[in-house]
Point group: C2
Chain length 171, copies 2
DNA sequence: TATTGTTATACTCTATAACTATA
DNA sequence: TATAGTTATAGAGTATAACAATA
């Protein structure tokens, strides 16, 4: 019975009876709405911000980017085009394969991403203002688990560092 | 230091050290991505699904819809246009104010929304597969609290039923 | 005058299909 | 042939500004 929208509770107890799906969907709308507003203050969209975030510690090919962002490769072409036009990322020819390019952050892109994420962090702090530090830790732990499980299910094991072209273990 | 993207952990312990902002952002991407895929199986977008969800127990004006969805009124015009073209919603002239319309679900819209949310519920169940029932309850409780706080902060107190035209402060 | 909603316009984002260049 | 990436095209979604009708 997910409403996918805030609903008034009908019983005597006030409004905390959300299903898992409702709670997750509603929080996701709020979180990405907040992220979007902050991003737009810096002239970025959500997906552009996400692109910059992904590039923070990677230099993926267009194909890899498409897989990580779950977009068609042609969508990534446009996304990277617009970011490149604005000087936020750069296409670097792959040394190994002349068909391929690697996408990297420019200094300007890195700086802009840092600004946007900093203000987003502050927003999240405000969003979680009603939770105790212990509750925040609990929440972050549970959500982290969910993310990790999802990534594993998609074959993207983020707990084991892998280079963009190499498959190497951390230790 | 939000990366807004899955990151490899650098320490010896494997990848669960996410900041609040990272955890929330990443889960939101996953949740809305899942919702989007399900919705598209039913020919809906995320925002169309959300529109139908909002209309599940309300018949708001265009203005109210814009406020709830946090969109410009002109965006809502297009959104409702496309939904109306597909027979999912209907514009009903407001009896009280001849400038205003009320937007309502059609039977087809209600049925489609139910289908989409049902499969989304199943997806969320799968997403939370790694959590115990107790952990799920904890998660839903914490998230519900966050949503409620946010709605209160915006003056949309969802725990207190209000008519569409009433405007009352909660604090 | 103020408010409700639509229209005109421009841009981002997205996917599908066809294409080029390289492997 | 297969793969990496781009281009062409079409459509959804969004905001700003100007507008019409009503209050």
């Amino acid at each position: 019975m997910a409403s996918l929208a805030p609903r008034r509770s009908k019983g005597p107890r006030a409004g905390l009876e959300l299903s898992d799906a409702d709670a997750l969907a509603q929080v996701s709308f709020v979180v990405l709405g907040t992220l979007g507003r902050r991003a737009s203050e810096h002239g970025l969209s959500i997906i552009q911000t996400r692109l910059l975030g992904v590039l923070r510690d990677r230099t993926p090919s267009m194909n890899e980017l498409a897989r990580v962002l779950e977009l068609d490769k042609s969508s990534v072409t446009g996304l990277v085009d617009r970011a490149e036009d604005r000087g936020l990322v750069a296409r670097i020819p792959s040394p190994a394969d002349r068909r391929s390019v690697q996408v990297a952050l420019t200094h300007r892109g890195r700086s802009l991403a840092a600004q946007a994420t900093d203000s987003f962090e502050a927003d999240v702090g405000e969003l979680l203002d009603g939770l105790s530090p212990a509750q925040r830790r609990t929440l972050a732990g549970l959500l982290g688990r969910v993310v990790l499980d999802y990534a594993r299910g998609r074959g993207l094991d983020i707990s084991e560092p892998r280079g963009p072209s190499a498959g190497r273990a951390s230790s």
